[in-house]
Symmetry: C2
Subunit: 416 residues, 2 copies
């Protein structure tokens, strides 16, 4: 049932990775059996553990002190003795460090890039040590699996949640905390850094500020700086929270949080990260409730409105409104590298770059991604690209990433 070619590939990848554990081979075999039997690829099959990284204080790029800091992280694969097989995954705006695998066998879904992370997969856990961490001010502060530090965290100096006293943090701060996390494990360089959307901003930043530490960079669905239009949309994402009286100037941790405003913010993000091809083809003009014509009253809905409401309600349960505002600010402030000159910041990237994007992206428009490619490539830095096909717009960078799988595999395998 298993084709000979496939078995030899499994063995050869086992050889390449040094066969740190025979179990990887077996997992790979099981995974590939699954592919053969069902036509569906599976990813990382080990149960994933969430770890905590703590710092005894961190000074932000803005010069403010956070006396104690924690972020969650998880890893797939094994760190080799040389500690040179590390791929860092940086997460998107509403994402977490959960890039692959399941915490328990009962989890409804695996991490977001499970399609490309696992034994024998493009980000091959037989070969690489793949690590991902929750950012500071992570959106999903109430998710028990997310560990982050931000406005919802207790300020040790007051014993109260920070609220808006928490300092402004930047994509650069996210990178600095990741660097400390890696150094804590003795990791000095990265085989690659890869991230989608806000994760791509972190990837640009890593490659620009620490060119000697980053051997390859894979930015997905992102461009090299936040510009006026994105800054404006980020502001609009934040707005419903501020309109909600329960937001109370950010001081709501002892009262009702601004759930309605947060839900509407998350709805905007859901909409903009998607595309009409998916929405129209999937939901058309169907009614939310059988027999209730949307024309019958101002309140009566179309199905797609209800779907957006339900998604927003669900996402809001684990999200914190102030964290969303801080993420908005971090993204608005982003320019690759130090200072405000995006061209110089992108020119400082020397690592071979694999750019992955979608022509239908309504958050980071494809023309701006292509400008970023040109700027990185201008001084001779090699840049390859994969254009994803799909109906999900921006989200295809998460949902359709397997289309880029073989290109990613070759890119990671190639010597630099």
């Amino acid at each position: 049932m298993i084709k000979p070619r496939l078995i030899s590939l499994l063995f050869s990848s086992c050889v390449r990775a040094g066969c740190a554990g025979q179990r990887w081979w077996l997992v790979g075999l099981a995974a590939n059996l699954f592919v053969l039997g069902n036509g569906v690829a599976v990813g990382y099959d080990e149960l994933v553990e969430k770890h905590v990284f703590e710092m005894d204080g961190y000074t932000t790029q803005g010069g403010e002190r956070i006396p104690s800091l924690k972020v969650g992280w998880e890893a797939y694969g094994t760190l080799n003795e040389a500690k040179d097989n590390v791929i860092l995954i940086t997460h998107y705006f509403s994402g977490t460090s959960h890039a692959a695998g399941r915490y328990s066998k009962d989890d409804a879904a695996p991490g977001y890039w499970d399609a490309i992370i696992g034994p024998g997969k493009p980000l091959d856990t037989d070969e690489y040590y793949i690590i991902a961490s929750d950012t500071l001010v992570n959106l999903n502060a109430k998710d028990p699996k997310v560990i982050t530090t931000g406005p919802a965290t207790l300020n040790p100096e007051t014993g109260e949640p920070w609220g808006l006293d928490f300092p402004v943090v930047t994509i650069g701060d996210f990178v600095e905390v990741q660097k400390a996390l890696l150094e804590n494990q003795g990791i000095g360089s990265l085989h690659a850094v890869m991230g989608a959307s806000m994760g791509s901003l972190q990837a640009y930043e890593w490659a620009s500020v620490y060119p000697e530490r980053v051997e390859r960079v894979i930015p997905v669905i992102g461009s090299g700086a936040a510009n006026a239009y994105l800054i404006g949309w980020l502001d609009a994402w934040a707005a419903p929270i501020k309109v909600d009286p329960d937001w109370n100037g950010g001081d709501y941790y002892k009262a009702e949080p601004p759930t309605k405003g947060l839900e509407e913010s998350l709805k905007l993000i859901t909409l903009q990260a998607n595309h009409w091809q998916w929405a129209n083809d999937t939901y058309g003009r169907e009614w939310a409730e059988e027999g209730v014509d949307p024309a019958s009253s101002l309140e009566a809905q179309f199905l797609f409105e209800k779907v957006l409401d339900d998604v927003a309600t669900d996402r809001a349960k684990v999200a914190d409104a102030n964290h969303l505002l801080y993420l908005v600010k971090a993204n608005q402030l982003f320019v690759t590298g130090e200072g405000e000159n995006a061209e110089a910041g992108l020119a400082a990237i020397e690592a071979p770059t694999l750019m992955i994007y979608s022509e239908d992206d309504l958050v980071f428009f494809p023309a701006l991604v292509r400008q970023t490619i040109e700027t990185i490539a201008a001084d001779g830095t090699p840049v390859e690209e994969v254009v994803l096909e799909g109906k999900r717009g921006h989200l295809d960078g998460v949902l359709s990433i397997e289309q880029a799988g073989e290109t990613i595999r070759e890119f990671l395998d190639r010597d630099v």
Copy 2:
């Protein structure tokens, strides 16, 4: 100074229009002198008057009765004796009947399509009687120049503003009121109907439901039905109003209106109707306030954020929040023609169609406009198109309409 060719054109257009008033010729001359002298075209030069059309009751397509109804209208040019030189202009979501000219010489700006409406212009007021009316539930209910009927209007049966007791109205209702307005002037058929965005929906509806009355149709930046994604965005536009506690379930006419929520709704509309090319090129990453780095606090803004705030504040002064919600509903409910079958509705259009759109439209996506073109053209209805160039996305349908000017002129002049 005036070239002979131009004078002869002016005379010939005077002859074509029957020279109902010699003043038109003089205005045309002045206008064209201005073109020659400054290289800038001017539009309608007569002072514009706002008129009121009243109905003694109107039954909506949903079967509900509005006992008394008023809408404002204005006209440019002169209705000929045969009453067969009429062009109806239908307005966009946040627009009004003020399509051309000025109410007083001191007006800061003329009506929105002044570039193409006027003596000698493509919509030539020497030849055509161009009429535009405010829709029901017009957004700008507080604008002294707007006359509309909607939730902010007094319900004669209670003496109080209608609020959410006002019935749901549709694009079809807007068309029915326009039909009554035209019939009141003895007008039975239209040389053309032309409208942008929500105005294009009215144009489709006119041409589909009254094919015998519409000789030509010019839909600008719009497609033939609201689909899921647009329905979702319209819902998102409405959301900040509903989050604002001052909205109070629509009952705010004796208290503070939901200004903050309304402003955020209008900001979303402003953003989506624009495009990154304009925002980025115009505002880049400039700071709102000199010396106040947006990184310095959560509140500190980039210039584009402040511009959006200022525009929204300004627009909210004359807008009514409930009217916005009713417009959202009317647009969500839109399918060309009677019933839910957009293909049948568009197929019923027999009038030659000139479709004008932008490849950068983020409200009515170009692929959906092209689908609409195909559907109208499928049974042999002639459809021409003009693709506008610009940096304003959807808004180029208003701001860059003069690019289509000569095509519009020829389209209107051609016999059908």
